[in-house]
């Protein structure tokens, strides 16, 4: 199945985008720096109270993850439209939902995965308990996957727009269930309760995003390509 022509296009796009990102390390290092900075701002603003900081650590980390992922939206599709690559894709027989999935995969590999590596470190600096960090590690994959798809959706809707804040208005309301369940998972872990329920809901949301959003993104890509 993997060698079928359907997935050849998917693989080609992922490889192409990863190569171009390897040559521009700034594109994926910047969100990481942003993520660390937001956390640092909160830590400084809250001050020396270690228990207060540990209590709000999940909230800070998750808000920073969502914002850092969304921050990268501008670089995802705009270069492809400007270079004419998107036009080629629209004319090619490759199914657009797979193109959308490829774009989201690249975003996840270059933003989600680095964030997943750095977030536990930041959590430790904020004083989150070991149980909380465990729960954080558990919730990061589904949340970042869903977030990558939402970010590509925002990128598709706002391609060619000068105003970068529009993407946040469009997508942040949709991320709130993710935020609620991600924070709830960590909070119940810290409080010693079972975290199965919020973790299951979080995975359900990630699966839903993974199935439905590529179709929506494909639709928007086609509309914006036909301008």
């Amino acid at each position: 199945m993997y060698s079928s022509p359907l997935f050849k296009g998917y693989r080609a796009i992922v490889q192409r985008d990863l190569t171009s990102l390897r040559r521009r390390p700034f594109d994926w290092l910047l969100p990481l720096a942003f993520f660390m900075l937001v956390n640092m701002l909160f830590a400084i603003a809250i001050g020396g109270d270690r228990t207060a900081l540990a209590n709000v650590a999940p909230a800070i980390i998750w808000s920073a993850v969502l914002l850092a992922a969304l921050l990268t939206h501008d670089g995802i599709l705009r270069p492809d439209y400007e270079s004419g690559f998107m036009e080629q894709l629209l004319l090619s027989p490759h199914p657009l939902p797979l193109v959308a999935l490829a774009k989201s995969s690249v975003h996840w590999l270059t933003t989600g995965v680095p964030l997943m590596l750095v977030a536990p470190l930041v959590a430790m600096m904020l004083g989150l308990s070991p149980r909380g960090i465990q729960a954080l590690l558990l919730t990061l994959p589904p949340t970042t996957i869903a977030m990558s798809l939402l970010t590509v959706f925002a990128a598709a809707l706002t391609v060619g727009q000068k105003n970068h804040l529009l993407a946040t208005l469009l997508v942040l309301p949709l991320t709130i269930p993710l935020l609620i369940f991600a924070v709830a998972t960590i909070d119940s872990a810290v409080a010693g309760q079972s975290l199965l329920a919020p973790a299951a809901l979080l995975s359900a949301l990630a699966i839903l995003a993974l199935t439905l959003l590529p179709l929506a993104i494909a639709g928007v890509i086609r509309i914006m390509g036909g301008q």
Partner: protein, 144 residues
């Protein structure tokens, strides 16, 4: 099968599988309790987090409300199995009364719950006062 049909089939399979598994996960989650507050029984069982605010929910026990000096007040929150002593220094909401549901937010220290917020949980019944009185009268008649 033509290429087009094959694609449709793949799309359909993915959709059914994705939505199906998401629904299964959600149903599983609903069976677990996603609680907004802890009950007195849970607090008595030592499930309350230490040095950390949480919410406690239950009924205000009949005859347990004691006014202290100023606006400070003490009452017991019960779930008819266990009870927790609550201290609160602030203005109580209109719907706060004995035998009514209440959600209090605060910290639990040395067997006393120090509330910094008291929220009345109103029930979902709306009826005129006369109907309520009639119902009560009927109830006392049957119990007598």
């Amino acid at each position: 099968m033509t290429e087009r049909q094959k694609r449709r089939l793949i799309l359909l399979t993915v959709l059914v599988f994705g939505i199906g598994s998401a629904t299964a996960l959600m149903l599983y989650a609903f069976q677990q309790n996603l609680l907004f507050f802890l009950t007195p029984t849970q607090v008595a069982a030592g499930q309350a987090p230490e040095a950390r605010a949480f919410r406690l929910g239950g009924m205000v026990q009949d005859g347990s409300v004691e006014r202290q000096e100023g606006i400070a007040v003490q009452f017991r929150v019960t779930d008819f199995a266990q009870e927790v002593l609550v201290e609160y220094d602030g203005i109580l909401p209109d719907l706060f009364r004995e035998g009514q549901g209440v959600v209090v937010r605060g910290q639990f220290r040395q067997n006393v719950f120090y509330a910094d917020e008291v929220l009345a949980k109103h029930d979902e019944n709306y009826m005129p006062l006369e109907v309520k009185d009639a119902l009560e009268a009927a109830k006392t008649l049957t119990t007598e």
